[in-house]
Symmetry: C2
Subunit: 275 residues, 2 copies
């Protein structure tokens, strides 16, 4: 599922992701990968424990090279946010204070609105072990927190960045039910196509005396048509099903049920229509 | 940010997560951790490469013991899904065929609806390197895919499981803007409290001849009140600000601007009100 593709649009805009004193290069790399998946590209590190650049980060980034190469390092959080107009702090713990707390969906939509107004924004993520200090949270405008299992709240920074990046991507979609690809045609077949299928199957069954006794025929037909209508088959699906009925109706078994001969390879050219 | 807490509700219900031939124990552990964060608990493995149980999975699961301990292993995908009523397959690639393709939001809401109707459901995730085969996708009812960066689509299985688990959690929330905690009171102060603050600050400024020339006084007061009204300060915030004004208004500087004496430790008991 990996890889960049130069023919497709590379999304690379939106809020800066700011990691405060990250410890493990692997986590920084996973953060870069999470960001790239959802179109973010601006990564800032405040005082990374093991320095920068980091081979472990590069390896974990799964070719998110544009994020890794553009990463900036700062000595203090003040410097890292100095050019930004609006900053969220992520935290899993309730903090004292006056800041609004937002869900990821709300936060992403606020960030998108500010992005559209040409503001520069950022999201702060704390250290692996204990997150952000109160002083660091105080530097942000508002707080974002995740709706986790009350008895099991254990998101690491790469997971938290993934979720915010994903919500950022969704906030830019006109329709969150949209998917990047879709089968060609999910329209149910026309009624004419469906009725042709009814006729075929009912004729084949009628020829076998399926419909009896006569008093129950209308009800049997109703039931059969209900079963075949309910799925809303598309035209290609009906085409598959008509082939199945044709095979069952027109051709005889080549062996008695349960007695399939061992395949010797000789039958490969058989067209199946020799019944 | 880690840890279980026995006093809080442990969510542990919803669709089964089914990993087809997972290779790395670390990934299985990260999947368990992702699930636990968002209230899922039923993990099924089809033919895991390195066997089961796995110490690496246990270590990466960050105490999601209830998921790891309940994990079931199957030899084939058929067996793994045999008791389920409805199954999604996750894939990043367009497939031929007749299946609907859903976004994570739509898929989660469909799974929630079926869960509420007491159906058993599951979500299939493919191998780390190349996902699900067409035959495996064919065993599912519908497809779910993620809205990723067109030129950088590189979600690993733990990330994909995290996103689906998160959407599952959100699908059960009445209000997706809700947060698990909130500051105590975000209500703006009453107008009486705000006007008290205006009076204090305007009196202190008037005593310093801030308001001049007289022709501009009404406009100056309008502007000042507009600046102080716009943030919608809460009562505790106004209380902080009134303390600031009181300090500035009532007490004199203890040293000239820019000439703070070196702290010898002797001033520690100073109450700051000796002006």
């Amino acid at each position: 599922m990996a890889g960049t593709n130069s023919e497709r649009e590379l999304l690379a805009e939106g809020p800066a992701i700011i990691l405060v004193e990250p410890q493990l290069g692997e986590n920084i790399g996973m953060v870069a990968r999470a960001m790239a998946n959802f179109g973010l590209a601006e990564l800032r590190l405040v005082n990374p424990r093991d320095g920068w650049p980091s081979e472990k980060a590069q390896a974990a980034a799964a070719k998110a090279d544009h994020v890794i190469e553009g990463t900036k390092v700062y000595e203090t959080l003040d410097e890292a946010v100095s050019d930004l107009n609006f900053v969220f702090a992520t935290t899993a713990r309730q903090r004292d204070g006056f800041k609004h707390v937002r869900s990821p969906v709300t936060a992403a939509s606020m960030l998108r609105e500010r992005f559209n107004a040409a503001e520069k924004t950022g999201i702060l993520f704390g250290r692996e072990r204990w997150g952000l200090t109160n002083e660091e949270v105080a530097l942000a405008d508002e707080i974002v927190t995740f709706p986790v299992n009350p008895a099991f709240a254990s998101l690491n920074i790469a997971q938290a960045v993934l979720l915010m990046s994903y919500e950022w991507m969704k906030s830019g979609m006109e329709d969150i039910a949209a998917t990047p690809f879709q089968v060609v045609d999910q329209k149910p077949a026309t009624k004419q196509q469906l009725f042709g299928f009814f006729n075929q199957i009912e004729e084949a069954l009628d020829a076998r005396n399926y419909f009896h006794p006569p008093t129950k025929v209308p009800k049997m037909i109703d039931n059969l048509r209900a079963v075949l209508s309910r799925p809303g088959f598309t035209e290609p699906e009906i085409s598959v099903l008509r082939g199945v009925i044709t095979s069952l109706d027109q051709f005889q078994r080549r062996w008695p049920k349960g007695k399939k001969p061992v395949d010797t390879g000789e039958g490969k050219a058989d067209d199946g229509a020799d019944g």
